[in-house]
């Protein structure tokens, strides 16, 4: 824990000054931060209430939606962009999926009808995500509109389409067995958590072990250099936004299943939260970095915090305040330590 070059038995002050106690890398600081949240919540709430299976079970059901959306956000930031439309893609996909399921179910009753409805619904939802991703990707890659503006427009467009499709009403009457995806357990572990871990694994391989991952990183680090190095910049960008959209629509399917209904304005607070998670995880919004494990850890820390706050009967407003304060604090600490390191 002592800073580099600090003498043995260095005082707390010098260790603080060298950033040693806070960890030397953003990831190490995130670990310290998560442990600090965990310990303080355990102490404040009381271990008999906080360290219960029920609490972690409920965190395990809540965490995957935000985690998956954050992975989507992380991928868009890897290429130096941002995708503000992730939540609207999730909602539009979920609505198309739910409408398809309800429609198919009306035609075919019985268990086989349910299976057909679910397959058709999931397929329709993913196709919606694909289409949304292509719109974003093509506008960024070919028309070269800054991604923040493209996705600001498509955020409104997709949400608007969802509103037009539903008339603002919630869609209900989904197949009963579809609820398993969001509410069931497999080997005593919630299905959403399996989905989330699976998503994290796929994302880790995609980002770290594939040619696409390397290319995306290079495009994010320096698009002009990537262009002159004859990298397929446009294709990389289109694939990035399509993948981001597909992950978002999987999240949408999860949200439908968990709530057993679909609505145009579900989970709109997830947008800012997912940006917060990704930045907290140490991902550089300017591009070129991705940290799957960091994102997982940051989501976990924030969910611990909000569940602890909930148990202390603090409002969701206090949680919002704490999340924002942590974001600013972590960024300021990272900035100060980085400049000292130089």
């Amino acid at each position: 824990m002592t800073g580099r070059g600090a003498p043995a038995g260095a005082t707390l002050a010098t260790r603080l000054a060298s950033g040693g106690i806070l960890g030397r890398t953003p990831f190490a600081r995130l670990v310290v931060f998560t442990v600090a949240v965990f310990v303080s919540m355990t102490l404040l709430v009381g271990s008999d209430r906080f360290l219960t299976t029920a609490n972690f079970q409920s965190i395990a059901f809540q965490l995957p939606e935000l985690a998956l959306l954050s992975f989507a956000m992380m991928l868009s930031m890897l290429t130096g962009g941002i995708d503000l439309s992730v939540v609207s893609i999730a909602n539009l996909s979920s609505i198309v999926a739910a409408m398809t399921m309800v429609h198919v179910l009306r035609g075919e009753a019985g268990a086989s009808g349910e299976a057909v409805a679910i397959v058709a619904g999931v397929g329709a939802g993913l196709c919606t995500g694909l289409a949304c991703g292509l719109v974003n990707g093509c506008a960024v890659a070919f028309i070269r509109v800054p991604s923040i503006l493209v996705t600001l427009g498509t955020l409104q467009l997709f949400t608007g389409l969802a509103l037009v499709l539903t008339g603002g009403q919630a869609i209900i009457g989904l197949p009963d067995s579809f609820q398993w995806l969001g509410n069931g357990t497999l080997l005593a572990i919630p299905v959403p958590l399996w989905l989330c871990v699976g998503g994290a694994a796929v994302m880790a391989v995609l980002v770290n072990r594939t040619a696409f991952g390397v290319e995306a990183r290079l495009v994010g680090t320096n698009p002009i250099a990537a262009w002159f190095a004859a990298l397929p910049v446009r294709s990389v960008l289109v694939r990035t936004y399509v993948t981001t959209a597909l992950v978002s629509s999987v999240t949408g399917l999860l949200m439908v299943s968990r709530a057993n209904s679909a609505k145009a304005d579900y989970g709109s607070s997830y947008l800012l939260q997912s940006i917060l998670v990704v930045v907290l995880a140490g991902v550089d919004p300017a591009g070129g970095s991705a940290r799957v494990l960091g994102v997982g850890l940051a989501v976990f820390a924030l969910e611990l915090l909000s569940s602890g706050f909930g148990m202390m009967r603090l409002t969701s407003f206090a949680t919002e305040l704490a999340w924002g304060a942590f974001l600013l604090l972590v960024m300021v600490i990272n900035s100060v330590l980085e400049r000292r390191g130089k």
Binding site: V145, Q156, L163, L314, L321, G324, V332, R339
Partner: protein, 334 residues
């Protein structure tokens, strides 16, 4: 002469003006009620808060930054000021309330500037954080209940009209006095951007920060100015907003940042900095307000509203991007 005409035609503002006029003609043809004096006054009234915020954001965008915390700042200014004025009756004078709310906004805006400038953090992320903190703190420590019995000076302000007319059918049309604030802000900012060192500096910093610093622009002062101005204007808008809707709801204005960014960008402001004009921003606001207020007039369900806004943002930013690309052929921008 022809080159001048071509340059004029190529101006983003002119294209926007033509689009806005065409849209108005189409809407008016579908429903003549669009041309009524009352509708015009209503549109102007709706444009005041959106317009002032868009002008504020324009300056931030020109300097190469962004701010998504201003709706939270506006709500904080509005709600704290109204709560204070109800507890301390002696404060209940419009100039005092406006000054308090603007000062709250200014302080919060300067806080953004300090984080952005001194710690060199990305403005998007900083203001995302401060927005959470401001909203969370307001709702946790000040209150969550909507104030319906507003301070009497704000009520009086909401009833003050610049101009009133009785129409042929006996109905009366009135133009709110708050339009003067909008006009004042627009003119002052337009002049500041054109003729003051700090205004020219905002363009310089937005176009190339390192170059502006070397030329000798005081970047710290420019950052403090743009984010401080944005905050102060948001505080001002807080009180105007309360006077227009006649209550103070601490949960209000959520999501307004996206509408304001859209208006500024439709108006031709560059998200990467260095470009943007007050005229463009005003036309962007006009287009947004006309679309917003008129879909119902032409018989389209209000659900279509967001679809249109989205399409306009996409088309408008695409045009800007294509134009930039043809102007700077060969450069790889993203």
């Amino acid at each position: 002469m022809t080159s001048r005409v071509r340059r004029l035609l190529g101006r983003h503002e002119l294209v926007l003006l033509v689009v806005t006029v065409l849209l108005s003609i189409v809407i008016g043809a579908l429903n003549p009620a669009f041309y009524s004096l009352q509708n015009a006054f209503d549109l102007l009234k709706t444009s005041v808060p959106l317009g002032i915020l868009t002008i504020g954001l324009l300056v931030v965008l020109i300097s190469g930054g962004i701010d998504i915390s201003f709706p939270a700042i506006a709500v904080a200014g509005m709600y704290i000021t109204c709560t204070l004025a109800i507890d301390v009756r002696s404060l209940d004078h419009l100039p005092v309330l406006l000054a308090i709310s603007t000062a709250i906004g200014l302080a919060l805006g300067l806080f953004n500037a300090v984080l952005i400038h001194f710690f060199r953090l990305p403005a998007l992320i900083v203001t995302l954080g401060t927005a959470s903190v401001i909203r969370g703190a307001l709702l946790e420590f000040v209150g969550t209940r909507t104030i319906t019995n507003l301070p009497s000076s704000i009520i009086a302000f909401s009833r003050t009209n610049l101009f009133e007319a009785t129409l042929a059918n006996g109905a009366s049309a009135a133009l709110t006095v708050s339009i003067l604030f909008f006009a004042g802000v627009a003119i002052a900012v337009a002049l500041a951007l054109r003729y003051t060192v700090i205004g020219r500096g905002a363009y310089a910093v937005g176009a190339d920060l390192a170059a502006a610093e070397r030329v000798g622009f005081n970047v710290r002062r420019i950052h403090l100015f743009v984010y401080g101005l944005m905050g102060a204007l948001a505080g001002l808008v807080g009180i105007i907003h309360a006077s227009i809707i006649r209550n103070a709801n601490p949960l209000d204005l959520d999501g307004l940042e996206l509408t304001v960014i859209a208006a500024a960008v439709i108006g031709g402001a560059s998200i990467t900095g260095g470009r943007g004009t007050v005229t463009g921003a005003l036309l962007g606001v006009a287009l947004m307000v006309i679309m917003d207020g008129s879909l119902v007039l032409v018989g389209l369900p209000s659900q279509w509203h967001q679809v249109f806004i989205g399409l306009v943002v996409l088309v408008s930013t695409s045009i800007t991007a294509l134009r930039t690309r043809s102007a700077r052929a060969g450069e790889i921008a993203r």
